[in-house]
């Protein structure tokens, strides 16, 4: 399974990447995607989007999905 991974704002700076592309047969959910890119657990308040829509960490991902991780939003 091939997943495009994106990071925004403070999380982008902490991870040190804007985008990553991962290939793995062991990925079922967004949580698995995070574990594939980071050794530390994802902070509870961090947010997840799959294909540009909010999702939970336990949501299933599919081949070709874009999965994004980012901190609480501060616009407006």
């Amino acid at each position: 399974m091939s997943i495009q991974v994106r990071f925004f704002a403070s999380l982008r700076e902490r991870v040190g990447h804007t985008r990553l592309s991962i290939e793995s047969a062991d990925i079922a959910t967004a949580r698995d995607v995070w574990q594939a890119v980071s050794a530390s657990p994802l902070d509870e308040e961090m947010l997840v989007a799959i294909n540009k829509a909010y999702a939970s960490l336990d949501k299933a991902v599919s081949d070709g999905d874009e999965v994004a991780f980012f901190p609480p939003v501060t616009g407006g």
Partner: protein, 144 residues
């Protein structure tokens, strides 16, 4: 409905006037409720020199469009307009404009406020402030 992400400064009052003139039938709306958020030169007790607003291209636009369409349906608005700045922003620059138009005042007032709360709590934008002492990410928006 119009939703726009802007990388350059805008005049919210000219935008509202132009939108009303171009998109709303004269004589059909009785109420315009508008909120404009503007960059302050202070935050949490510190002077702020400038700010960078990051967004998630594609997701942010889609999120704002769904939010605006939902508000129009829910509150039977005549129309609505949302503009949000991204990129480098200076104190006194306007950051966000949310405008709701309806036949009667109640709907426009409620929709404008609800859209602002939804935008502040869920639209994918992130602020990084430049202070004299360096940069910092804004951690969380205050409740409305």
């Amino acid at each position: 409905m119009r939703v726009e992400i802007r990388a350059t400064a805008f005049d919210p009052w000219l935008e509202v006037a132009a939108f009303r003139r171009d998109h709303l039938a004269a004589g059909r709306i009785g109420a315009s409720a508008v909120f404009v958020g503007t960059m302050r030169d202070f935050n949490e007790g510190d002077d702020v020199k400038s700010m960078v607003l990051e967004h998630y291209p594609g997701m942010t636009e889609q999120h704002l469009e769904t939010m605006t369409q939902d508000a129009i349906s829910k509150h039977h608005l005549s129309d609505a307009l949302v503009i949000h700045r991204v990129g480098t922003i200076l104190p006194a620059d306007d950051i966000v404009l949310v405008a709701a138009f309806s036949a009667h005042r109640k709907e426009a007032l409620i929709a404008c406020r609800e859209m602002m709360e939804t935008l502040k709590s869920t639209a994918p934008f992130w602020k990084k402030e430049s202070l004299a002492s360096g940069e910092r990410w804004v951690e969380k928006n205050t409740a409305g």
